[in-house]
Each structure stands twice: as C-alpha cells, then as structure tokens.
Amino acid sequence: MATEFRLLLRSRLTLAGLMILFAAAGIALWLGHTEMQRQHAEIERAAALQAEQRTHLGYATQDDVAAGSVGYYTFHEVADPPGPWSFLAVGNRQVMPPVQRIRLLGLEAQLYEGESRNPERAVAGAFDFAFVVVFLLPLLAIALAHDLLPGERERGRLGLLQSLAQAERSFWSQRLLARLLLLFASVGLPLIGATLILQRPVTSLLALLVGIGLYTTFWTALAGWIGLRWRNLSSTASAMALLSIWVTLVMIAPTFANAALARSVDADLGGEIALEHRRKVNDAWDLPKSATFEPFFASYPEWRDTAPVTGRFHWKWYYAFHHVADEHVAPKVARYRDALAQRAEATRMLGVVLPSVAMQNLFDGLADNGIDRVLAQRSAIRAFHTRLRHHFYPYLFDDLPFDHSAHAAMPSFEPPQRTPRQDALAWIGLGASGLLALFLVVRSLDRRVRRAAARYALR
C-alpha cells in the first residue's frame, strides 16, 4: 500500500492535481468564511444604524406618544445570521437579504423585500466548499482513476502485473483505495482544519466527512470500473465516457430538473401576493370603515366593543386594514409556501437518483442556507409580527398612551433555531451510489475469475 501512495505522489501531474484540489478547498473555505463574516458585519452595521434611528425618534423616553406613530416609524431589524456551517455552502444566501426591516404595517408587503446583490455575481454561482466537492472532486477522481487498468495496459505493464498479482481483486482494490484516500484527504484535511480553527461541532463534521467519503467512493470506483469492466477500452475512451457522465450528473441533469421544477411547481406567487396586498390596502382608504372592521373583529372579537372610529382617520383603523389585507392574501401565502416546500422536497427526492444533487443537499442541510431556511425565517418573522401586533393592540384600541415601559416591552426578533437537519434521502442517494459503484468494481474483478471457474466446472 505504501508503494501505491509513492507511485501516485511521485507522478508530478497527480501531485499537482491533488495540490490544486487541496488549495481550491482551502480557498473555498476561506471565501465562504469571509463571506459569512461579512454578512455578520452587515447585520451588526444595520443593527447599529437602526438603533441610532430609534434613538433619534426618541420614543423610548416619551410617555405620551400615540401607539400608532410608534408602530409606523419604528422599524425592527430581523436578521438571519449565518449558522455555524453556513460557510460551507452559500446557497440562497447569495440572493436573500441577511437582514430585513419589519414594522407594524401589513407584513406581506414587507416580507419579500429583496437584496441588492450584483446579479452577475450571483448568476456565476458561488465558489464555496460545496462547489469544490460536488464539481471539482469528481474531475480529479476521473483524472486519477480513469486509466487505472487501461493505463497499465497502454504502458505495457499489465501482463507482468497480472502474472505477479496474487489476487487481482485486492490488487486493483488497493490501487483504487490509494486514489480514494488521497482525494479524500485533499478535501478532508482543509475541512478538518477549518472546523478546528472555527471550533465547530465535531459530530457534524464526522457526518459530513462520511458523506464526502461516499461521494468520493462513488466517483473513484466509477472511474476505475469503466476500465476494469471493458478491458479493451483505451484510456482516452474511458476519460471521455467518464467526463460525459460527469457533465450529465453535475450539469445537465440538475439544470434540466431545475427547469422542469420551475415549470411544474407554481411558486411564482410572490409578486402576485405583494400586488394584491397593496391593492387591498389602497382600496381600504376609500371604503367605509365597516369594510375593514367587520373582517377584523371576526378575527379579533375582543376589540369589538372598543370606541368606534368616526373621524376620517384613526390609527386602529389603519392597522386593522393592514391586517385585513394580510388575512386576505393568507390563502395565497399558504399556497406559495407549500409550493416552495414542494420544490425543496422534489429537490431532495432528486438526490436519491443523482449523487451530485445528494451531495449538494447534504451540504445544504448542514449549511442551512437553502429554501428551508428561507421558509423557516419567514414563518419566524410572521410569528414576530403577530407578537408585535398583539403588543400594540391594547394601546391602539383602548387609546392608551404608548409610554416608555410599553416601548421597553416591545418584542424583539430572534432568528429561528437551527436544528441540524439530516436529509435521509441524500444519505440514501450517496450510500446507494457509493455502494453501487463499489459493487460494480468488485463484480468486474470477480467476473473473469468466475467465468473461468464456471467453464471448468462444466467440463
């Protein structure tokens, strides 16, 4: 086994390839980490600016201010700080805002504020650790293992090796194993280093390493298998076949699935929701007050018996019609959420058949920057907004002054807990593909021996 490593590492090309993979993994980890640091800083800067604005408003020290004004002018920053593993796979963090602002007005008009990222940067896709593993690692696996057998034949050593090798199966397996271990180390060592430096939990790291190990096994075994199965294949034919598989698995199939998913799952509701919400809010101004209060009191009967609104404007009417607009779009919101969840589920399902997608999903589950996080964040914001409304309603409907204690008691937003989500389907996909590739290799090694034995038994 030591000689197998020596053989690989003494080849300048192989060594260069492994070093490049090692460096790419390190750079990707560093880029991901600095990106997350930047997002933390962005959140802090926004929080400081927001606090400054609140100080300027001065409501915290006033005791006679109208609750409606406080609700209108006070923004609450709702942050989505990166999780401990977010640096591994940037995911939707590239396009979603790390921090948003919410006030007492209708939520659905505020919830979908986008982020002003450079679209050209986003469309290029992130160079994160997930990319290095999902895209680049297989390429190097192909480079190292595609000529496992064809290379020996083309260099004229196959006959000698076969005449010497005690058990062909263990010989080729050892060669594959050496390649697998080197590949795994090239990405695993930077990852372990980053985990230790950043002091992330070791259990998650171990699980991820197992996942990466399975993915590496899949590609290395597949690359070796092509040559072992079709023994007359030239190394160039083997390389072309493998690269076609790579292009299919990491480029064509996922992009095709994405296009199909965009078509089949109607998630294109965000724009409609915002549009309808605005229309509802605008219409309310010109409608009789009862058009607002009837549906509102149906939801909140406890405020029915408060003083009726007789003038042209009252804050409680204003916030009531904002809430009624939220309620009006609620069915669409639910449909939108379901559609997105369905998309996420379909993507997970795809991981069962596409190891590339399974690997990406495994990263996504740990990094928690995907659509699931977006949905969790949105529902946390929704809950926060509800608490905020409930805090204000007594002051609005009973016309109580919003004093400093009321101000101090305003709820603040806590980002939802991150529970490490184990994507069972990704594990199935990675496990199955890894085992399948291993099985194919072993079978192709056994085949010849078995065929010979069978012929012998017949005779």
Binding site: L31, E35, R38, E42, A46, L49, Q53, E77, A89, N92, Q94, V95, P97, V99, Q100, R101, E113, S116, R117, N118, P119, E120, R121, A122, V123, A124, G125, A126, F127, F131, L136, L139, E154, S234, T236, A239, M240, L243, M251, I252, P254, F256, N258, A259, L261, R263, D268, G270, G271, A274, L275, D286, R312, R343, A346, T347, V357, G370, I371, V374
Partner: protein, 474 residues
C-alpha cells in the same frame, strides 16, 4: 495554397465525422441545444404572458381608480416592467436573478422585486440550462472530444511523420485540421444563426446586437478549435492531449468564471439593501423632516414660499402649501435614495469592471460578457431599467404632487378628491430598453479580448507549424 488547405480541410472533415465519438457527441449536443431552447422559449413565453397580464391589470387598476385625493394615488403606486428582449431566448443572463418588474410609489424606492433565484432550491447552483450555456460551456467540451487526437493520434501511429516528411510545409495540415474542427463548431452555431435571422427580420433594431453576438460565438469556436489543435500537436500522445485539454477547459470554463466574481465581490463590497435604506434615511434626517412642524429646513422653505407669493400665512397662498411640501419632500427623499442606490450600482459596476478586466485570462469569461451584454441581459441593462424606473416613479409622483398643489385647496385638504380623469394625464411611459449602442462599450471590449485570443491562437499555431517542420526534417 488555399486549394491545398481546403483539400486538407475536406479530408480532415471526413476523418472527423467518421470518428466514433462524433455522431453520439453531435447528437447529444444538438439535443441539448434543442431542449435548452425549448426551456428558455417556454420561460420567455411565461414571463411574457405574465408581464402582459400584469401590465393589463396595472393599467386597468390605474384607470379604475375612484375619485381620490392625489396623495392616495401616490401611495396606490404603479408597476414598471422590463420587457424580455428577443435575444433573451438564447441568453437568459441575469434575468432569473433580477426579476422583471418593480413597484413604483411615493417616498421610497422599491426593492420588492421577485426573482426566480430567491425561490430556487439548491439546483439553481448547478447553473441554468440555456442555449448560451450549451454553446459557451459544453460546445468546447464536445470540440475537445472530437479533436484532441487531431495530431496526437497521428503522431502515435507514425502517420504524422509519414505525412510531414513528404510535404514541404506543415501549415496546410494544421490549418486544414483547424478549419475542419471549427466547421463542426460552426454547425453547432447554426440554430443560433437561425434565431438571429428571425430576430433581425422581426426586430431590425437588434441587428447590431445580433451581429456582435454571432461574431463573438464565431471567434470563440475558432479560438477553441485552434487551442485544441495546438495542444494536440504539443502532447506526446493522445491521452496527454485529452487530459491537458480537459484541464484547460476546467480552468477556463468552470473555475475562473466562478472565482473571479467572488473575488470582485470581496474587493468591492456593496452595502446591503437595509444598510442603504438606513444610510439614506440618516442623510435625510440631516436635511429636514417634512412631518416635523419645527424643522428648520421646512421652516425656511415656508418663509421662502410666503415671500415669493407676498403673503403672511400659508392659508393665504393661491396654491396648496401641503402639495408644495410633498413635492419638496419627495425631491429630498428621491435625491437621498438615488444617491444611496447609485453607491450600490457603483460598487456593482466596479465589481463587473474588475471581472471584465480579467476576462483576458479566459475567452469563456469574455464571451459571457459579450453574450449577456449583446442580449441585454447583463447587470448594466438591469441598472438601466432601474434608473429609468426611478425616473418614471419620480415624474409620476411629482405630477401627482402638482395636482395636489394646484387642484386641491389647502383647507380640508384631506377631504377633497379629484375626478378619475385626472389620472390619465399622469405620465406612465413604458420602459424602452436602450438601443444597441448602449451595449457597444462592454460587448466590443469583450469582443476585442476574444479577437486578441484569436490572434494568440493563430500565433501558437504558426509556432507549432515551425516546430513540427523542424521535428520532421523539413
């Protein structure tokens, strides 16, 4: 000489198409082109229909407004839509990440745009299957598969020596191989050319954009074909040529296009949307607050206005002072927000400029820029849309504030309404995408980088010619 080259090219072409990999490769490429075209066409159609529907709805809503106070209309708002150009069929660019609509209302610039990207799962990070992606990324790979052995295999079999030993120059052989391989690439561009023809016929104003695009892709094919022949001629054997070319492809088409924008983002960080808003609001606090009765800026504004009309009290003004304050407030906020967003645009432009400069290292990157710019689907075109939308928003709000000033009396201001006919006079121009000249600066920059690569490829090939001639004793 030309006769010789065409003869060699013809022969090389015959060899190429009889290659075992050629037919499956060509069929796969063609299928991918068709599928991706179908996908983008469908997407285009969907966006087009939705936009049509939303425009009609926004128009109807606008017209169906009841008698209202003009300030209500300021908040009622309006939508602006970015039409998807005909070349977007082919090159979807940043469209999935920007969305194509924006809400316009008083007091604020809106960021509530909906993009496919924010609704996408991890799958989006594998890229998008568009005809542009197929031609930019997969076509070079196919050409590598077709041509890696062009010279290397003949060297292995001894055929190369046999041919070169008996011919006065290696140039016709190399040129012939280059042309034959490029011809295969051009064949893959045919669907694009057809599409371009349709675009030119139906929308002649796009002719220049189409020409830029076709030129870019044509040069790109020539560059790759030349690089493939060169590497094939330098490699010791076919296997080495294939591996070398694949490494080149990975670096030029996969790694660089991802790493550079990332580094650009780190070098020129752009503030978040929230930070931009907060900074604009802080700047506004410094100027004046129209809602604060003791605000020094608006006190001075009132004194000025009263002096201009020679009256003592705002109630005595011949116009509605409330409307004037609104207009002045809008002017101030728009200025502050515009400054803030220009800072963001500036950072984005700096990021892109940084990447553009480095396009020298990868023809793929240069082609990306050229293709998106010419198709009108790059950041520059999106920012153009945002600026135009802001101008439209500002014009709309100020027209309404003017109505407020001149048509609404100061007394009982909020209880008055204007007839719905008044809204028809408000300017609601449809967004007109910029003409081809807008794209010219960026796309011609990219095209000159591509031409530079072509020259370099030509130089490489002539160097290889001399090298081969020396090696085979001519």
């Amino acid at each position: 000489m030309t006769h010789l080259i065409t003869a060699v090219a013809g022969n090389e072409w015959r060899i190429l198409v009889r290659e075992r990999t050629f037919l499956p490769g060509a069929i796969a490429l063609l299928l991918l082109l068709l599928v991706s075209l179908a996908i983008t066409l469908e997407r285009y159609q969907a966006v087009h229909e939705k936009q049509h529907e939303h425009t009609a709805r926004a128009d109807a809503d606008w017209q169906a407004q009841p008698d209202r106070h003009p300030h209500r209309v300021v908040h009622f708002g309006d939508y602006a839509f970015k039409p998807v150009g005909p070349l977007a069929h082919f090159e979807w660019g940043v469209e999935a990440h920007t969305g194509q609509s924006i809400f316009l209302e008083g007091h604020r610039q809106n960021a509530a745009n909906f993009s496919d990207a924010s609704e996408s799962t991890a799958l989006l990070y594998f890229g998008q299957l568009t005809p542009a992606f197929v031609l930019q990324t997969l076509l070079p790979l196919a050409l590598i598969f077709f041509g890696y052995g062009a010279i290397a295999r003949e060297r292995e079999s001894g055929l190369l020596h046999q041919i070169l030993a008996g011919s006065p120059s290696a140039a016709p052989l190399l040129l012939g191989k280059w042309l034959a391989l490029a011809a295969a690439g051009f064949a893959a561009l045919l669907p694009l050319a057809l599409l371009a023809l349709v675009a030119v016929v139906t929308t002649p104003e796009h002719a220049l954009r189409v020409a830029m695009m076709l030129a870019g892709y044509g040069v790109y094919v020539l560059i790759w074909s030349g690089l493939i022949v060169t590497v094939s001629g330098l490699a010791r054997n076919a296997h080495g040529a294939l591996l070398g070319l694949l490494a080149l492809w990975i670096v030029l088409c996969i790694a660089i296009p991802r790493v550079l924008p990332e580094l650009a983002g780190q070098r020129h960080p752009a503030p978040t949307h929230v930070e931009t808003q907060l900074l604009a609001e802080a700047a506004l606090r410094e100027v004046g607050d129209s809602h604060n009765p003791d605000d020094p800026y608006f006190n001075a504004f009132r004194t000025q206005t009263l002096e201009r009309y020679g009256v003592e009290r705002v109630e005595d003004l011949p116009i509605n002072y409330g409307g004037l304050v609104m207009a002045e407030g809008e002017r101030l906020t728009s200025e502050a927000y515009a400054q803030a967003s220009e800072r963001v645009f500036g950072q984005h432009a700096r990021q892109n400029l940084w990447v553009d400069r480095f396009a020298v290292v990868s023809p793929h990157l240069a082609l990306l820029q050229l293709s998106r710019s010419a198709a009108g689907t790059d950041t520059e075109h999106y920012i153009h849309f945002l600026r135009a939308s802001e101008a439209r928003r500002y014009a709309m709000v100020q027209a309404l504030n003017e109505l407020h000033t001149y048509e609404i009396a100061f007394q009982n201001d909020r209880d008055q309404r204007l007839g719905a006919a008044a809204w028809d006079a408000i300017p609601r121009p449809e967004y007109a995408p910029p003409d081809a000249r807008f794209a010219l600066a960026r796309s011609s920059g990219a095209l000159s980088i591509l031409l530079g690569w072509l020259l370099a490829t030509g130089a490489l090939l002539s160097w290889l010619t001399r090298r081969l001639e020396r090696a085979h004793g001519n």
